[in-house]
Subunit: 394 residues, 4 copies
């Protein structure tokens, strides 16, 4: 191992972008980041409204001098601090349209970045970020948090180890109910104001919000990228002007095929994402509503239900588990596992610790770009009478 | 009520076609037919092999003089008996290629018919049968048995009563595992000999075997026909020469859309058919593995699990239930409910009993034709790069 | 094998006692008896009211000359028929107080008997029947039907084969809701008229009705009799004059212990009986609501869910299954499996067939007696402040 | 409201006792305490071994000057700090035998205390603590964490609101598998060293470890104390010298009765605690393995499955939920809810905030005492041949 320059003392200093008091996902990111004591949140620009940002930063516990009005101001302020004191990384949990400019600023300032999905609005923006990352020595993570669940990592590891043989079919479904009614006719919350505005949320709400999760989950557990899609995207709630439904047939590089359905207009649905993957010799299934379990049906043998924390699990699942079996972990810990990987990759870059091979499963800039390529291909097919669209992931 | 001519004494006299000792589905049909004492099986031609048919008929309990070598011989023999003694109806449970000729003979002889699915090999054959039925005063049922489950009938009744408002999405899945391995390389059972021979089983094995079930189930619970499909049909087991996989996007006359996936190559799968139907105000879900229950998720209320035999069920579910709640019924009773409807429709024709409106939910000749139209459209779309194919049900 | 005297032609000729048109359990017994074509129901005395018995017998399909007014009359009438024509066995499905006299008459006439539970009202009566059976060459079965479920038989076979090592704990629960409200204040159905009358139903309704099922299930799957109980029996519905609740701690001859709770006053409960059995190296669990599955949790391995019809099952489960995996069977088939065993034991007595070792798992006269011994011990403990009561099964 | 003295700035300053790097429960307590930003952990004595305590305190993130060698030293050190800086509360997560002395010291120093269960070794010790608390103005919480789950609180609120009418039966079960094998024959971990030593863990391992949880859960959801028990306590693993099994019949002040079974020797079990409560008009059920859901079966209506985060929940469940429906929370958040109540009660005492009535559901010193009274009564009954033992809760 090369000589250790600048060995790190204590937790990595993290700034947050977005995640103010009214944010849904902000508190999750923040508690997840510190859960394993690998980060401390020391600064932030928690609103895109510069007037509110400072007060809201203090309100969620930032010190007065490090609650900033904007990302630009934050970078400026932090770099006036000593190297041992200033922020090292940025966590972006702002509205979608802020991802691209905020990530650019952070990367250009030499900061490691972890960003919520979808990465950007367009493939072009995403590729710009990819270039910035590739030209740097920085870590870039994307919080496709479902890949942080221990039992999802177990599924991926089992598939890679051949537990079900060659993959033949891979189905993913993500159903939410939040847009089952015409919420667009109600008084909009701040979150809905940007979500329902395509200028701010991106070209297809349902694909950006949850389609990218479904797509990443499929490529993650199957370890093979999507190469073709035939899709039907639209609205199931009459008179709606944004997409709330996408049905997709997909094919993967490894020859597998399957179906993907995502919708936010499923009345009565929980936030349930699930996958089933069928191979030559068995099936593996996971559902978010029972996140601590994984179902494995080997051909001609009893169905097996694997439990988080159990002694027979593979290393990627074991290392993503904090509490013994029978003590459920949840959504927060799925994010914490991504933050833990993010920390490991940063310390690896800082030559503080030997590389942790498994931390490299953290969704990265390429996964972010692929999400945008997927959205583009799906929309293209849907606009072409469902014809198959081929594309190449990065 | 009109004058009763020829009032019926005792159970209806039924002949079976197919369903010999090695048949899988035969014993189900036979025990289902007699379960409610509405039919008695008095005759049969239980093999398409005339040499075996007679001995096999005796082996399964037919009397020596009414175990026939062929359907033609049976009709000939029976019509030499008195009207009060001869068969009144025929149940066809023979291999697929026998459905068309056997049904033709039975209808031409003036016998009521209940036939297993798929109705025929082709749309043309199906329409020929339709004309025969329409020109007669005969009952014709098709054993899409999943529509015989009480909780499926409850689902249909709830949808019709507006329990979930206008239907928006309807997904059906039917996964089997029997062809997950290359059974075509093993010594073929008699059943597989005809199944794996397209001359005998029809143009697309997976669509005929289980796709027609999925299609009927969707139109049954949603009370609206499929009008368009975009499909991907093929094989997921390498080197296979028959279809084992079909992924379908469909749209219904009522504006709903959704996905349908059927495969017989799902390693580790049970014989699980399921549907989920989302409306404006809620979701209804049923799975064959938990056939005695129905899940209903009303918008913003707790999920409800309805149980067969419970006191709040609607009439179509109540009348399809024999045993009190908590005493599971199964596959056999799903067929028995169809046979019970078949009997009710026959006695209605015979003017013995007042019409039972609910018995008319028995899948009929038009449902049989529509299954063939669906297969045709799905294959056409799959051969046209997934383009949408529109068609008109009968 | 000894010379075959009187080789049997066709199904065994069975008479039914009780099971008229209003009976709940009657149609189950009757359809179960004939399901596998091993019996034909040729005669019966279907009501304990001689005035109704004949007409009701005809109403459920008996021929006019073999629908009898009473058991005595039936035996008299049948024995005037030729040996090749008269009844060979009797199935008793009458109210509890009729079991003892009806079984006595049948046994004394040399007829094989299968009788519903509880066997009798008292230990003394039960032992009288035991002596009659032991002094004869007759088969006597008791329809503890839960032992007829294939997955219950699988559990028993697994325990016997050592799949979970020595048994340490065995818990059984049977909760029904039918008496959660004060049905005694409503107009009583014929069934409730005798059930709520201790003169007719026996000393403790809940113990006779469902406690005997729970007790038999425990001794069946654990293959070890109960030797001690400490119990609390009473009513949970205020002001009620019959038992609706029994909580029991029990110990088994093999050293295992556990709890048993039975109640008919569980508002909201289905007819759910379940067991869990813990051994040195794992757990096995079954619930009636999911009767087609068995859960096996081996120590430090994934939970396994075994499915009826699956290829890895043990012989006692395989032979009790008619339909392939994924095609649910239910309550009716659990009775049919007992009837099938009953037939096998009869043909064994008749020297028609070689013994089928597995058919001997049919609950027999000793299981019937043990049910009464259990009731007696449980009531004694409950009346003695919960002190432990030891007793010896037969 | 009285004048506010000493209004609190920022989070409450908390010290931890126990919970060093090898602790199982320590990290849960610690992350739970800070999750809602209501506490900051500023000091601690994290090992009962004074030599290790300081270094281990630093290792888990305490500052060097506030990582103490013992509780006594900590109190001494902290009270040399200004009132605005010193600790205000103590969280005790040390081995069982340390609870009593550590809580005494903390209470005598005027510190609020939250302590893990069982409260102490004996009823006498527990009553000593009760007197100390009653004579002070201090808050004392006990981390019966299962009462912190939102859906458990929902159950309690529903029962209190009459959703199932008068309570009739209440069953609780807590099965673990950790002692299914003879771990006492292996090299003992530090945790097992004290657990398996009755001098350190208390008079009955299984009752102290999990029996107290089961007992509190029952009295919490049923809102009525246990008044009588009939029990069987012992070992199911042969040759074992400590209790690993307890079967209990109990009766409650409100007239309900039921069964409770707790064991740590259930091979194949997860850490599953569950309850079912039956009332006049329905049933409510919760299982730890599906902690985010609650099942409610109203008489003659469909079963309802309520989900954490759903809009129809009652206030005690709503306030204990951070994340929207469909985003699972787990074990950690159950503790965090207790810590949140603990903070609310402290600020109430400090006159900083108006009382939050619902925070008073935090298990308190009386619940702690009652746990010891329950253990005493259960052991007494078991030693008296299962006779019923009556006692009076505090």
């Amino acid at each position: 191992m090369p000589e250790q320059k600048n060995p790190h003392q204590g937790p990595i200093r993290l700034a947050i972008v977005g995640g103010g008091p009214q944010s849904f996902i902000g508190p999750i990111h923040q508690s997840a980041a510190v859960l394993d004591r690998k980060f401390q949140i020391v600064a932030g620009a928690v609103s895109s409204d510069p007037i509110k940002a400072k007060a809201q930063g203090v309100a969620i516990g930032l010190s007065n001098d490090r609650a900033y009005a904007s990302v630009a101001e934050m970078i400026n302020g932090e770099f006036q601090r000593s190297e041992a004191d200033r922020i090292e990384a940025v966590a972006v949990m702002s509205p979608n349209d802020r991802h691209f400019p905020d990530c650019c600023l952070a990367l250009q300032a030499g900061l490691h970045v972890i960003c919520d999905k979808p990465l950007t609005h367009s493939v072009t923006q995403a590729q710009t970020l990819l270039k910035l990352v590739d030209d740097s020595n920085l870590v870039f993570g994307v919080t496709y948090n479902y890949s942080g669940y221990p039992m999802v990592r177990q599924a991926r590891a089992m598939v890679k180890s051949g537990a079900i043989g060659a993959v033949r079919m891979l189905h993913v479904e993500y159903f939410q109910g939040g847009m089952a009614t015409r919420i667009e006719d109600t008084e909009l919350t701040p979150k809905l104001q940007w979500k329902l505005n395509p200028e701010r949320s991106g070209p297809s709400l349902v694909l950006g919000d949850i389609g990218t999760h479904a797509h990443h989950l499929a490529s993650f557990v199957g370890s093979s990228p999507v190469t073709q899609v035939s899709a039907d995207v639209g609205t199931v709630v009459p008179g709606r002007t944004f997409d709330d439904y996408a049905a997709i047939q997909w094919r993967f590089a490894n020859g597998a095929r399957g179906m993907c359905c995502v919708t936010q207009a499923a009345a009565g649905a929980e936030n349930n994402i699930s996958f089933r993957i069928y191979g030559e010799t068995g099936m593996i299934e996971w559902q978010h509503t029972q996140a601590n379990y994984l179902r494995h049906a080997p051909l001609n043998e009893p169905l097996r239900v694997l439990g988080r924390g159990d002694p027979y699990l593979l290393p990627p699942a074991v290392r993503a588990t904090r509490i013994a079996r029978g003590h459920p972990e949840g959504f927060r810990e799925s994010f914490a596992n991504l933050y833990s990987d993010f920390a490991a990759l940063i310390t690896e870059k800082q030559n503080v610790k030997a590389p942790d091979r498994l931390a490299h499963d953290l969704p990265n800039i390429r996964d972010g770009v692929n999400g945008l390529l997927f959205i583009e291909a799906v929309l293209k097919s849907s606009h072409s009478d469902g014809s198959w669209v081929k594309y190449q992931s990065v």
